[in-house]
Amino acid sequence: MANALAEQGRWRDLDKLLARPGNIVGHGFEHSPTLREEIGEFVRVLVVGAGGLGCELLKDLALSGFKNIDVIDMDTIEVSNLNRQFLFRLQDVGKSKAEVAAKRVMERVSGVTIVSHFCRIEDKDLEFYNDFNIIVLGLDSIEARSYINSVACSFLEYDCDDKPVPETVKPMVDGGTEGFKGHARVILPGTTPCFECNIWLFPPQVKFPLCTLAETPRTAAHCIEYAHLIKWDEAHSGKAFDADDPVHMQWVYSEALKRAELFGITGVTYSLTQGVVKNIIPAIASTNAIISAACALEALKIVSGCSKTLSNYLTYNGLEGTHIKVTDFVRDMDCLVCGPGTLIELDTSVTLSQFIELLGEHPNLHLSKPSVTYRGNNLYMQSPPILEEMTRSNLLLLLFDLMGKVPKDTIHVSGTTEKDGKKTSCLRKLRVVFKGVVGGSTDMDIARSS
């Protein structure tokens, strides 16, 4: 009885947002007393990462009415996580973060189903990601963000007026924290900038010169990087260093310690070693909580329309006082990942060499000496000679065949283009559509028409 009451009370505030009309709601918002239940029933959300941010996100999303949640993380729980990754206990150390986090949230919030995936994000195919209506990211690396971004943007299609097709838009909410600082952003591919549009927002990792490490170390970090980058290779010929292997990390730590002693440097600790090698900045639990709250709210706003979404990048800084700033970043219309690219309609009878000629004559491209790549297959390379030779035989083949007989897809070309008499090198995204090929089953169509 007490539980049932608590259950009712749990959703009271949320229902006030979703069941009532408002003046500052998002475009097309339709308030309804059943909206919360509909979101719970029909919306599938993927949380990427079950670490500091991920734990918060799972809790926040489950308490915001999302009932079909998946979580993916390849990491296992470490003792050092326990101060902030509050879904984990000491006896969980060594177990999958995704599995334990899912179980703990399901125990606490009735009616929510969280499916865990204890694997790398690259292990899942595109269709796995396509099944979700929204993806929420709680990651700590640029590489992983960039990967998920490119997956989500790969579903995006444009109509013939270069407008994004709404059904193909896979919204993302990206959170990130570093110590007292954090960000939350909304990525609506085709409408707001994607991760790649302004990757320059992320400063590159500080890299010490190797010779400083080898000759004149001055800081604890120098000693650690020496053990990690130089000493490891000397001692383990050919064996790759694995930052996720505690034995490897321990080895680097003890070598760094020896080196620090030799040069009279203090401050080498195991956790600093982890921090330097994995480029980790100490995490602050409340930063995660603040950023996650912003992300979960944006996710709710995107699926319900109950309020306008963040436009489009929130930065939080709790280092000196508290500052929150929202910046409306602009898209890079030439972005290779989310941009519309150039639409090109082709006959299925076009060979690769004819296609390359077409690129030079195309009024918007004027691309000379283009090299062509399609989903990781280099169809033709102008240079260097060794690759030209390896790809030359493709020139006489049909582009339609080289692209696996798909009716339409994205292809990338690099070459030089002339603008106002000035030659510039460029990389272009093309949306190739083959005329007269419908749907995904060309072979069947042919069989039927014959």
Partner: protein
């Protein structure tokens, strides 16, 4: 907002392969940028390039430098390049596969070249790195030593340095260390 009515009506079947897209491998933005870099390569005449994993793996390749002047003239030095999907945000990882007596390259093949680490910028490209590596052989530098002994000899006794380089390249010992022939 997401159109909830559309989602409600959506069946699993159209989620799968909705656009006739074959589930093939994805190309990262880094791979695409590298594709551009490689297709525009303008190699110096001392340098050749090879792709051990074939034409579709540009992320791992090797270059071979055969300096035509300076201490290292006549030697052949192989470098492996490993490019991450975060390229050009991250510089390529470059190692020297040939054991070389050189102040800025250690015996494990680590290379001290500023643009590979502290001075890397995303506007740089593979060509820049290749030119930088070539420069290491024409202008070895005793101020940024990775091989401390070689740097000291270059600084204090260039004649001895020259003969040490010759001996190493021909296949022989410099001090306690054996260098396989690379001429």
């Amino acid at each position: 907002m997401i159109n909830l009515f559309k989602i409600k009506g959506q069946k699993r079947e159209d989620a799968a392969n909705a656009n006739g897209r074959a589930p093939v491998k994805k190309q990262s933005a880094g791979e695409l940028r590298l594709h551009k870099d490689i297709s525009e390569l303008n190699l110096p005449k001392t340098t050749t390039i090879s792709f051990p994993n074939g034409k579709d793996d540009l992320m791992n390749f090797e270059i071979s430098i055969r300096p035509d002047e300076g201490y290292y003239q006549g030697g052949t030095f192989i470098f492996t390049f490993q490019v991450s999907p975060s390229y050009p945000h991250e510089p390529p990882k470059v190692k020297c596969k040939t054991k070389v007596y050189h102040p800025n390259i250690d015996l494990e093949g680590n290379v001290c070249l500023n643009i590979l680490r502290e001075d890397w910028k995303p506007v740089l490209n593979i060509n820049t790195v290749i030119y930088g590596l070539n420069l290491l052989f024409t202008q070895p530098n005793d101020e940024d030593p990775l091989n401390h002994d070689a740097a000291a000899v270059l600084r204090d006794n260039p004649k001895l340095f020259e003969s040490n380089v010759r001996r190493a390249m021909a296949g022989g010992y410099v001090g306690q260390i054996y260098f396989p022939r690379c001429i």
